[in-house]
Amino acid sequence: MARKDGRKADEMREVKMEVGVLRNADGSARVQIGKTIAVASVFGPRELHPKHLQDNEKAVLNCIYMMAPFSTTERVRPGPSRRSHEISLVTKSALEKVVNLKDHPKAVIDVYILIEQANAGTRTAGINAASLALADAGIQMSDLVTSIASGKVDGEYVIDLSGDEEKITGCDLPVAYLPRSKEITLLQMDGDLSKADVKGVLKMCIRGCEKLHKIQVDALKKKWEAETSK
């Protein structure tokens, strides 16, 4: 069965990744998946103020997810919301596993994720972008983090739901996956999926994440190799 936009069940939307898009950030990346665009910028490690937030054992990873007011058809009120606060938190825990925070006690690594355009899968696009931006900023990481959502539409498992599909079904499963250590650092579920469904959908996500990992590696290498050949 073909999907609304003509994709196969295990076919992602077109993915574009670019590293080093912002001049003033220590590391930055833009990830475009279909019509969803996320830009991540990383600053630091740098001094953390106010001082009482400092951790004497390790650096603090500070993730902030925000949506541009013009990112959806209906204007998004700027500033933190219940939703953006939650996504910031899950993004932080998805990234924290790979980032070496022990090397910079008392410091902070700031990760800002801006959704320029939203069409389903904004948190997963944000995590992909943040992972690239962290690597670009020269921060020690044990792995890259990849992330994609899958769900069930009309009784069929499909990967990377678009905005239209999300409206029909309401059940999807965003996953963040570490391709080297094969661990899962984010698993959320919206809607209703049975145990068997979750297993099937999860498998699909992991296959998608492995594809995304290749694109991430290419994007990172491209930034430096393009300049090498100049």
């Binding site: 790979v98 020269g138 044990s142 290498k221």
Partner: protein, 271 residues
């Protein structure tokens, strides 16, 4: 990249007269090798038999050690580094210095050349807020407090000139093999240049602007091969379009150091 490709690149570079073994770019979590014959060096780690990269950078093997040379990141102080900093704040027992790192540094009273009686002398007579200093990292403790000493023959305060900040990972390239790159820029532009390990570069001279452009060029293309030739061409092109000045400061950098050292003595005498 297969071994064949790497060889091809090296061959074509050899044809151009540039040979570099620092070619392969690796990303965090990338498998570097699967053998117990090698040891993981900087920015690498071992898991089981395999060695993985921990940072984005260039792969380098020296002897039996594999390491990743980072292409980005912040300055991590090391004892003995000569660094340039800006005086941020004056405290009772010393100066707080911004050193372009995640942590601020501190110069204790015992870190300056002269004896200071705090009852008679105000500390901003020695270094005032905003002053540029060139000092040596004396201590870097596990709790990340950095102490700088000025009791080093090379240490001094800059009274004029300009400072540009570059990424600390590009400093070795800016200096070049046994100082080849930096001395080329110095000779061509007739500028005094001091490079701090923390990525702050101090310059003074007639052709400062050209020297700054050259430094920024090195920063931007630090990971490319044949850079020395291109910087040389750039300097010749830029300087060639300028009318030659009659007098050019021929005194060496060491002489300038002496001059600024005598400035410090002047401060002492004034008290």
């Amino acid at each position: 990249m297969t071994e064949k490709n790497t060889n091809d690149i090296q061959k074509s570079d050899a044809a151009n007269g540039n040979v570099s073994d620092e070619k392969k770019i690796v990303v965090p979590g990338e498998l570097l090798m699967e053998t117990m014959d090698y040891l993981p060096g900087k920015n690498c780690f071992r898991e089981g038999n395999a060695i993985y990269a921990k940072k984005l950078g260039l792969l380098r093997t020296s002897g039996r050690v594999v390491e990743v040379v980072p292409v980005s990141g912040v300055y991590n102080p090391e004892v003995g580094d000569m660094i340039i900093g800006v005086v941020d704040e004056i405290q009772n027992a010393g100066w707080v210095i911004d050193i372009n790192a995640p942590y601020t540094a501190f110069i204790p009273l015992s870190g300056v050349r002269e004896f200071i009686d705090t009852n008679k002398t105000s500390l901003n007579q020695i270094y005032a807020a905003g002053d540029l200093i060139y000092g040596k990292v004396m201590m870097f403790s596990p709790s990340k407090s950095v102490h700088i000493t000025m009791q080093d023959p090379k240490a001094k305060k800059f009274t004029d000139g300009r400072v540009v900040r570059i990424n600390t990972t590009k400093v070795p390239r800016l200096i070049g093999r046994s100082g080849s790159m930096i001395s080329m820029i110095k000779d061509a532009t007739k500028c005094f240049i001091s490079v701090g390990q923390n990525g702050m570069v101090w310059l003074k001279g007639e052709n400062e602007d050209i020297a700054i452009k050259a430094v920024q060029m090195v920063e931007e293309y630090a990971h490319t091969t044949g850079l020395t030739d291109r910087v040389d061409a750039f300097l010749k092109k830029e300087l060639g379009s300028r009318p030659a000045k009659k007098e050019s400061p021929k005194e060496s950098f060491e002489e300038y150091s002496k001059e600024s050292a005598s400035n410090e003595e002047y401060v002492e005498a004034k008290e």
